[in-house]
Amino acid sequence: MRRVAVTGLGVICSAGANRQAFLDALRNGRSGISPFCCEDCQELRFRNGGQVKSFDPHSFMTPKEADMIDRFAQFGVAAAHEAIQQSGIEWTDELRESAAIVTGSCVGGQNAEDQGFREVYKLGRPRVHPMTIPKTMANAGASAISLAFGITGPAFTISTACASSAHAIGQAFQMVRNGEADCAITGGSEAPFSYGILKAWEAMRVVSPTECRPFSKDRNGMLLGEGAAMLVLEPLDAALARGAQPIAEIVGFGMSADAHHITQPSAEGAAKAIARALKSGELNPEQIGYVNAHGTGTTVNDSTETRALHLAFGEHARSLAVSSTKAMHGHTLGAAGAIEAAAGILALQHQFLPPTINFTERDPECDLDYVPNTARDASFEYAISNSFAFGGLNAVLALRRWQ
């Protein structure tokens, strides 16, 4: 098995429009949450979210190319550009043929779908835009990246709700580790700020009317977010041989299904995925210094995740630093696994612990160190990133500092 290096990272979310801005936000606990804008959304029971306010797709593609894809796929292409630029890969015909693309998306092109359905249902028009189907498909991000860079290797999209891009990165990691791909562009993107999908979230009664306060006693729900993160993965030896500068390693990946409930999480299922990620990376629990938690800010997730960490880490749970960066960028659904893996990678690279902002009060059911409100410098070699999806499907990535 080959060691797998992350040689490039691209991020776009409300907390940071690129990798450096995201790093600054994580270090300073700066939130990207604000009142969101979307058509017809005035009477929703929540008004805040992690919406990307200044995104110009034309910085990354021609106007014609931008017209062919939904906002979520545009985010994916933008993040892929930044990641590939950092990696310094030079595209050869051979590399284009062997590179893999594995992306995650939960809800696909909701802006396009919503607009199409609004035309027929609300406005009573007789036709919808002919690009509605290809803009809506969840694999549009992977397809747009393949088109943008001429990549013709294995390419596909995984949709496992809020774990989509963690499963995608895990799959790409395994392909590079096993020798099935010599390079992978992987991550996820999402853009859920359209009326229909927001009404559906409102109906679940899990979205906070105020702000997201993960692990805090007075937490009252999640906030939605949008954006993307993409990673370039390469075999470590090959990356070093071409003179690349790895920014981290991916060393393990664990998955599990709860078989418990369609929406309620299970501590046992989550703990199983964590344990499998550690086993996959041949790690002892004591080696992990930081956990980027799923930490949605709902009552049930945060206490259940805490129990899962106790189950998976035993006594070491008390020594772990655990934080949820969702308070800063919102729950980006199918992009969450990738954006939060990016947070873990930047934390390892720069040796600090991103904070859980908006933390006001300890909850007896959440009794770990959540790095409340302020980032801390720390020395640690390994981190994990947790993603636990509705439907009970869990994915955990194990990351290592590169030095």
Partner: protein, 84 residues
Amino acid sequence: MPTDTTADDLTERVLRIIAETQRKERSAVTIDSSFEELGIDSMDGVNIVFALENEFNINVPDEEVKNIRSVRDMVEGVRRLVAS
């Protein structure tokens, strides 16, 4: 708001909605049934509230939903919202 909604009428409609949503016989649901007896978890509760909102043309705030612990809470909550 309908003005002919008597107390018993309202109770009966709430119990019927709960039974239908939970796919149970109407007779299995009484005002004293506990959520545990009826197998109602938090997602079921949200689904029942949705059906009640449609049945009675009311809006139940998120905060109220969090405080519902029993069938009786549902009946009384609906009665309060219908009256207001």
